[in-house]
């Protein structure tokens, strides 16, 4: 079949050019997935979060399912930095997509030193997971408040010359303010968002379903909330936004891009359909072909808002 014209799927995300806007969400991707999909199709690789300390992870059970969603409290198992440098980074050297390394630490200084140590050949960008709700006591995280997000991002910025992506939490009152703080402190892009702090209780035992009591909600159920958060962040910042939350189809990814995302991350969907990312890439291209959209970047923030008044957008006057 001759295409009417070729589609440019490439996007620029915070100092990094990706062949297409689709990449895995941290924690839902590992080298074994290459038995299911051709890694060279992906826009980028994003590793599981690495920490300096050795972490065994949370007590079991670590996941519980709910309609249209999954709650996880894996607890970021990590074998530490030397293992990551010697064993994980080289596994991606043979592939074409850039490697984005996800890091986490209990302090801003810890984030900075980790970013510095992992700014190595073979690493194309740092994604600072300042949002994982399981890692801080009672679910607290840097990205819950603009001040702490600003502080950790500033230290990260000083510690690495690599593109710096900051992954925000949806568990905050004003995510746009946090995104603005990260931008002001030097982030090259923000990832919006992470899982929602949540809980499930077993009615047979009256016990929490997760060993960690609370966990992070992901999957299709959270998508409309995070699309809203991307839309709000897109109005607040000029740096690119990477949308992440409940994406399982090309339509979902396009919706995120229309809301303001330049690229997207796919996580939980891979657990159900391991080739989901490749299907999404193909589906975005097909959509652009059908709609005669030459560049996928034309979708970014393409949402058509007919009401010009921002006051209306705040839906202060609900429909009557």
């Amino acid at each position: 079949m001759i295409k009417p014209f070729s589609i440019d799927l490439s996007v620029d995300v915070g100092g990094l050019t990706l062949r297409n806007p689709v990449m895995p969400a941290s924690g839902t991707f590992a080298e074994g997935l290459d038995k299911v999909i051709d890694f060279n199709r992906l826009g980028a690789f994003v590793t599981k979060t690495v920490t300096r300390e050795l972490r065994a992870g949370n007590p079991l059970p670590r996941v519980v399912e709910r309609p249209g969603s999954l709650i996880n409290a894996i607890g970021i198992p990590s074998k530490g930095v030397p293992h990551f440098i010697e064993r994980i980074i080289p596994q991606y050297a043979a592939y074409e997509p850039p490697l984005v390394v996800s890091i986490s630490a209990p302090t801003a200084e810890g984030f900075a030193s980790l970013a510095s140590e992992l700014s190595l050949p073979g690493v194309s960008a740092i994604e600072a997971n300042i949002s994982c709700p399981n890692i801080e006591e009672d679910g607290k995280a840097f990205a819950m408040r603009a001040e702490s997000a600003e502080k950790v991002t500033r230290q990260l910025r000083a510690a690495t010359k690599l593109p710096l992506w900051v992954k925000l939490t949806p568990n905050t009152g004003d995510i746009a303010e946090v995104a603005r703080a990260a931008e002001g402190a030097g982030a090259d892009a923000v990832v919006v968002a992470n899982t929602f702090l949540s809980m499930a209780i077993d009615l047979k035992t009256f016990k929490p379903c997760l060993g960690n009591i609370m966990g992070g909600l992901s999957g299709p159920a959270i998508k409309p909330i995070v699309v809203r958060q991307v839309f709000q962040c897109a109005k607040a910042v000029k740096i690119p936004i990477i949308g992440c939350g409940g994406i399982s189809s090309a339509e979902d990814a396009i919706e995120y891009m229309l809301a303001g995302a330049t690229a997207v991350q796919v996580g939980t969907a891979t657990f159900l359909q391991p080739a989901a990312m490749v299907s999404i890439i193909d589906g975005i291209e097909m959509f652009c072909l059908q709609r005669e959209i030459k560049s996928v970047t034309d979708l970014v923030h393409g949402v058509v808002i007919e009401e010009a008044d921002d006051q209306d957008l705040a839906w202060l006057s609900p429909p009557t």
Binding site: G32, L33, K35, I37, V63, L70, Y95, L272, Q273
Partner: protein, 288 residues
């Protein structure tokens, strides 16, 4: 506690990407056509599906992740891991044996022949057979009998004799017995109702087999109590063994680390993924 996933040993390619052989999957998620879905006894059902060559290449001890249809009023979100009961690369079919216990298997129960089922596999590290062995013992209970089933055919193909000690609550709930017998295996049923399934009796049977030179290796699945009996005997007699283990899973391909278990590796407790490093592990490293 340290973490360990020894099966990941990818080497960086020596050649640039452009000159590599075309990429091919070895695990697939595909919509398979259901050939049969019938009850084999009061508890277990036998599911047979037509599938691709890749799926039909599944090996004994490997498993699939099934995307189960939603039964009325329930929405199972994740796939359900299911041991391979049989794989036929010529007919391009895979078989599963399941007991209806939850939302996922209630959904499986609804599928009619001619219908479809989204299967993903083959997954995990399965059993391995050593051509030096002449006679092995398979010890299973409950759903473990389904997991051990493909061993019968594989052992026969390798010229290895099998004695299967199969445990169930009642004789009529035993599965895989005819399958093992059809491949020339000796089957020793033990049941709770006949008071023959206790670890003491199973140990007596195993000691008899060892004394008769009929136990070059243990294969087991489905009972921690019986696994411990075999671990003791394996140490006492210096015999190897393999155990297929279960754990709640999400992704099934080593991504999410929800299905980890502890293993004793040379006195050190290590954490491994049942879906990716297993589900079959060294008998002596397994912890109940």
């Amino acid at each position: 506690m340290s973490l360990d996933h020894p099966s990941v040993t990818k080497q960086p390619a020596a050649t640039p990407p452009a000159s590599r052989a075309p990429w091919q999957p070895s695990i697939v998620a595909e919509v398979a056509r259901v050939v049969a879905n019938t009850a084999v006894n009061a508890e277990y059902r036998h599911l047979v599906v037509d599938c691709s060559e890749i799926a039909a290449a599944g090996q004994p001890g490997q498993f699939f992740q099934l995307l189960c249809p939603h039964p009325a009023g329930e929405q199972p979100f994740l796939r359900r891991p299911m041991s391979l009961y049989g794989a036929d690369p010529v007919k391009r079919q895979v078989e599963f044996l399941y007991k209806v216990t939850g939302a996922g298997t209630r959904g499986l129960d609804l599928i009619q022949p001619g219908g479809t089922l989204d299967i993903m596999g083959p997954l995990g590290a399965g059993f391995t057979l050593d051509s030096k062995w002449r006679h092995i013992v398979a010890v299973g209970r409950g759903a473990g009998l389904a997991t051990l089933a493909p061993l019968a055919k594989a052992a026969k193909a390798s010229g290895i004799k099998v004695t299967a000690i199969f445990s169930a609550r009642r004789p009529e709930l035993l599965v895989s017995v005819d399958l093992f017998k059809s491949h020339g295996a000796d089957v020793v049923p033990v049941t709770d109702s006949e008071q023959t399934s206790g670890p003491g009796n199973v140990e007596r049977i195993l000691r008899g087999l060892i004394a008769a030179g009929k136990c070059d290796a243990f294969f087991t699945c489905g009972s921690s109590r019986l696994m411990r009996v075999q671990q003791r005997l394996a140490i006492e007699f210096g015999l190897p063994g393999q155990v297929a283990m279960e754990q709640q899973m999400a992704c099934g391909i080593g991504l999410c680390y929800c299905c980890v278990r502890d293993f004793n590796v040379g006195g050190e407790i290590v954490n491994r993924r049942v879906c990716w490093d297993g589900p079959v592990f060294d008998l002596l490293e397994a912890l109940p």
